[in-house]
């Protein structure tokens, strides 16, 4: 599975939202489904899918889909979202 698909799946399954909602603009706390509890589930899912362990500062900064891509790329050069 492509990284972009993996990312979309992580968001849809963690937040319980439709794939078309997962755009770069989707931001934390702007939809009811992406609250603080769902955020933790999302972090766990992203770490699981991409096999990384995020630093706390990055978890705080991971406030949008666009940010998620930037942060995940920091941990592994092979993670690209073309």
């Amino acid at each position: 599975m492509e990284n972009k698909e993996k990312l979309t799946k992580a968001f849809t399954e963690s937040l319980g939202i439709e794939p078309q909602l997962v755009t770069d603009e989707l931001t934390y706390n702007t939809i009811p489904q992406w609250d603080s509890t769902a955020h933790m589930v999302l972090i766990a899912e992203l770490e699981n899918v991409f096999d990384v362990m995020l630093d706390t500062d990055d978890i705080i900064d991971l406030s949008s889909v666009a940010q998620a891509k930037i942060i995940l790329q920091k941990y592994d050069d092979n993670i690209e979202f073309a």
Binding site: V41, A44, E47, M53
Partner: protein
């Protein structure tokens, strides 16, 4: 409705800090006896080596200082790598057992001593809970047990820094039980009273007798008795218990 899943201890790994101390070692032994794979963390490399030989195949040891934030992060990365490589099962349990005890009156407590109490007894367990809960969230199951203290629950003259650090951990325990329940994670604490460990080794017989006079069971507790309580709370036997502090103190009356 939140249903907290609590698999059998034998199905998961348990990370134990302070594993080379009295209560920590007893908890390691009891957890392995109950079938868990234990990730034993401590600072005493020789003691860790001994545990590794004693429990070969059921243990992985990590030597680091719990006040070293980077070392804690690396420890959890190693835990997850081991899970990914199927060297051990997914992390199910965490026992925050590392601790230090300062016995100084208010006027004689330096800022550095206070900071050290907070660093070891509160900040370190807090960071361990942050990282462990993220790994546990992946399975939507986990159990955390913090070793607090009856000194933190009841107070004790000449031990305000220690009491404050342990009371802080009790507060975090109760709050995180509520916060992590949706993730299937239970959080509880064990509050030992006067226990026969290295922390109380400096008490002479006369001082011990003075303490026993305030204990209904009129004796000190053992590390094994504390470990039994910790393992109970960690296990599926306590599947409907979260946010609680279980005293193991022979009914201490300050």
């Amino acid at each position: 409705m939140t249903t907290l899943s609590s698999p059998n201890l034998a199905d998961g790994s348990v990370l134990i800090t302070g594993a080379t101390g009295g209560i920590g070692e007893a908890t390691v032994t009891r957890a392995i006896t109950d079938g868990a794979f234990v990730i034993a963390c401590g600072r005493d490399a020789n003691k860790l080596e001994q545990l590794s030989s004693q429990f070969e195949g059921n243990i992985h040891t990590l030597c680091y200082d719990v006040t070293d934030e980077k070392a804690i992060s690396n420890a959890f990365r190693e835990v997850q790598k081991g899970v990914s490589a199927k060297k051990w099962p997914a992390l199910y349990g965490l026992v925050n057992g590392a601790g230090v005890m300062s016995e100084t009156v208010l006027a004689m407590t330096s800022a550095d001593a206070l900071k050290q109490q907070m660093a070891v007894n509160f900040y370190a367990p807090y960071q361990h809970m942050q990282l462990a809960s993220r790994l546990m969230s992946r399975q939507k199951a986990g159990s955390i047990v913090n070793i607090v203290s009856q000194v933190g629950e009841l107070g004790s003259s000449g031990m305000s820094a220690y009491a404050a650090s342990k009371a802080a951990l009790t507060g975090a325990t109760k709050s995180l039980a509520k916060e992590l329940a949706p993730m299937g994670i239970r959080v509880n604490a064990v509050a030992p009273g006067f226990i026969d460990t290295a922390l109380t080794a400096h008490y002479d017989e006369k001082a011990k007798q003075k303490v026993y006079e305030r204990v209904v069971l009129q004796r000190e507790g053992t590390a094994k008795e504390v470990a039994n309580a910790a393992i109970y709370l960690l296990s599926h036997h306590a599947s409907y218990t979260t946010g609680h502090v279980l005293p193991v103190d022979g009914l201490f009356c300050p």
